[in-house]
């Protein structure tokens, strides 16, 4: 724990990153209380107003909607989906990866084959096609589809970590006590794998945001009235010359959030590596 603060002092950048992340989380939780505008109110008289005018801190878009409110409301959905996706894909990844790595042989071979096949399609393309076909992009279906696209990666990491631990002698010691497979996998091995898995989960969190934003950009993300940052970019792109802020602010929101999470993930890996 002491090392946590030591590393923070050594890399001041991580303080910035973690603060930004916390800021976004706070915005997501308390944000809506802060704006006077709603995210859907369309003000025909104040379309494409520049930031600062008429009380719109970030300006308005082509339909007169307040951009700042839309960003604040959008933060909730994007963070929720990303969080659920990273948790879900990590858990399923652990279950699949551990089983494949532990039992080896045919089960492992089948697992690797399946993952190979799933990985033959780029994840964005897969999600895009499925969501586009299904038509409906609720928070649940977004979470589910993106998780499926990510599972080959998380499962691979889990399998790798398990294989490393499996060859350690304490696993053999457990075997000659006659422990059950479940006990060995989850009581003996799992506690020693938390480091790499947590790092991977935080990285997944960052990728999830990127993925959800990209899907929104492609039009298959969350549908109106829920504001989607990616969607905000594509909707306002035609007016980028006249009202660049309508595109820039959502883009900056995405960038800042993902960079903050990446810095956080990097920092977590530095701390956890030392612990070993």
């Amino acid at each position: 724990m002491k090392y946590f603060f030591y590393q923070m002092k050594k890399h001041p950048l991580s303080i910035v990153g973690i603060s930004v992340l916390l800021l976004w989380i706070l915005i997501a939780i308390f944000g809506p209380q802060l704006t006077s505008f709603t995210h859907t109110a369309m003000d025909a008289e104040h379309q494409m107003t520049a930031p600062g005018e008429f009380g719109h801190l970030f300006g308005t878009d082509s339909m007169g909607r307040d951009i700042m409110s839309r960003i604040i409301y959008g933060s909730r959905s994007i963070l929720t989906v990303a969080l659920m996706t990273s948790i879900f894909s990590t858990i399923i990844g652990i279950l699949l990866g551990f089983t494949a790595g532990y039992f080896s042989g045919k089960i492992d071979a089948a697992f690797l084959r399946t993952m190979d096949i799933l990985m033959a399609i780029p994840p964005l393309v897969l999600s895009m096609v499925v969501l586009g076909i299904l038509g409906d992009s609720s928070i649940l279906s977004l979470t589910l589809i993106v998780s499926i696209a990510f599972i080959p990666a998380t499962a691979r990491v889990s399998r790798g970590v398990l294989l490393t631990e499996k060859s350690q002698e304490y696993v053999s010691a457990a075997r000659i006590r006659g422990e059950s497979h479940f006990y060995i996998m989850f009581i003996e091995i799992l506690p020693n794998t938390t480091g790499p898995i947590i790092v991977e989960a935080t990285a997944r969190f960052a990728y999830s945001i990127m993925m959800v934003a990209s899907l929104g950009f492609l039009g298959v993300g969350l549908q109106p009235p829920t504001p989607d940052w990616g969607m905000m970019v594509i909707e306002n792109k035609p007016i980028i010359a006249q009202a660049p802020w309508a595109v820039l602010f959502p883009a900056l929101a995405i960038a800042s959030l993902v960079i903050a999470i990446s810095i956080f993930s990097d920092f977590v890996s530095k701390v956890l590596i030392h612990e070993r």
Binding site: Y3, E169, S172, A173, R175, R177, G178
Partner: protein, 660 residues
Amino acid sequence: MNDNILDIEHLQVLYKTFDGEFSAVRDVSLTLKPNESIGIIGESGCGKSTLAFSIMRYLAPNAVLDGKIFFKGEDLMLKSEKEMSTYRGNRIAMVFQNPSTSLNPALTIGFQLDEVGIHHQNLSKAKAREATLEALTMMNIGDVKGTVKRYPHQISGGIQQRICIAMAILCKPDLMILDEPTTALDVTTEAVILDSIKALKDSLNMSLIYISHDMGVINKVSEQVVVMYNGEIVERGPKAKIFEHPSHPYTRALINCMPRGGVVKENAKLNTIKGYVRRRGLVETGCPYAERCDSRNETCEALYGMRTISNEHYAACDRAYAEDVEETVKKKRIPKTRVQIQEPTNLLEITDLHKVYGNKRKVFAVNGINVSVQSGSVLGIVGESGCGKSTTGHMVSGLYQPTSGAISFEGYDISLPWNKRNSETLKDIQLIFQNPGRSLNPSHTVEQIIGRPMKRLLSMNSPLERREKIITLLHKVDLGKEYLTKKPNQLSGGEQQRVAIARALSISPRMIVCDEPTSALDVSVQASVLNLLNELQIESQVTYLFISHDLNVINYLSDTIMVMYAGKICEYGKRDEVMNDSHHPYTEALLSAVPEVDPTKQKDPIRLEGQLPDPAKKPKGCPFAGRCHVQVGAICENEYPPMVRLSDTHHYFCHIKPTT
């Protein structure tokens, strides 16, 4: 000005770390003459490697050096990095412990050797290649032209190390530093390399610094011995004097920790050193060994300093045989008396046991062995890497399933893997592993580790009951109650192994398979673990299957010995029969290869060339044929030798009959 190769004056190396500053080398002064060979012996943390790297001026960035290092009159401490690079590999060369990681896997052997000549002596490519081939031939490597084209991973460990040595001698250096170069190798391979090193020293007129934890190895290569403890030199002198009459208590204690010929469990316990090495801060002064010393008295801190014992023999203390303190070393070594409690029975019977790994690419690990083990005895299984001893141990304990053959325990067939064995069997046979750090789950506490087998196999479900028993077990292995909540990474290697032993004992097994349990430990720690194993065995009459590659350890602890080679038994018999009256050529070669701690003992060298037979091929004939120094002809290669019985308890497999 003298003509010393090396003059180290008051060297001090400090490391600045997250946890504070500590000194790795403290006030070390050393001289080395031309063509002189010294061996530096010490256990982990003594600073011997740091000393070596200091001479090369290659330390981590957080190291702070002080003092002078004169090489042929020039102070190396004043040299820039660029200047140092003209010395390295050229006037001072170094050979490392692990040859497979010291060679670049992406470059051919030839390239890695040629570059030394090209770089230091400005040779042309052709001339450099000539020098390379010459150096390789000097190291007795066969097929030099083929070797230079290969990559490191295509070559075996012993030859890799010879290549590393060849690299070091290319420029005919004045000083060669060897940092545990043979520790990772088999003892027969080691013997060959030690011979070459000795020959090279004389033919090239080099000075050597040989670092090792093994006194026997140092005796082979050096005339002078330097003993280091916790960053300081505690004694230096000719090897015979050091062995006969060590003056520093640490030296004396260390020598008595080493198992060797003549020292067996019945006549002496191994000496142990209480406590353990700890890091020293910057301001600490005084004798580093005082707190662990048996001969300590009140004046120890004040009278600290290097004294002259005799010609060429110096020590930082002369109290090894002090009379004002009780003689504890001799007392410690009084062995416990052995009492036979029960009638010995045939506890374990192994019949024609085979193990073959793999489907397409097979590995024939164990090729038919027969042995039986009496209850209450210790069977030592000895052999080099690839002989199948670990595999045999794993089959007995249930980690592997035999491919064919039978293992029976108390009459019941246990040729089953662990997941098919019943609780009784699991309870009766336990295993202690080589690497204690890895055999304990790093996330569990000591209490959980020792308690779990009791919960699982003895159905002892009350935590309080378990805790009581755990505390008793901890006392048995000389650990206190405070260890209950510790995690493995807070323990030293020796403590970890004790916890592993306590864990194995917790369910009172009838037999424990000990798979190289002391190979990863320092000599003094190894001694205490061996003593412990011995005492526990005397007390509970448990049977041990003791597997090791170290013949001295086997000699100390075993009642019967089984020598294995390439998956088959070469020789089997009572300890004294095998050690003193061996008949199998491999046993003889093995015995002659083991380096002697006592420098006055001479041995007939039997040097084996060649390698193990290919484990991917089904064995035909005697596995040792081809390397055997007394091979009688084609019959050795074509027919598997018959068993020759020398007595009820002693037999071996060879075509050569004993000369009566």
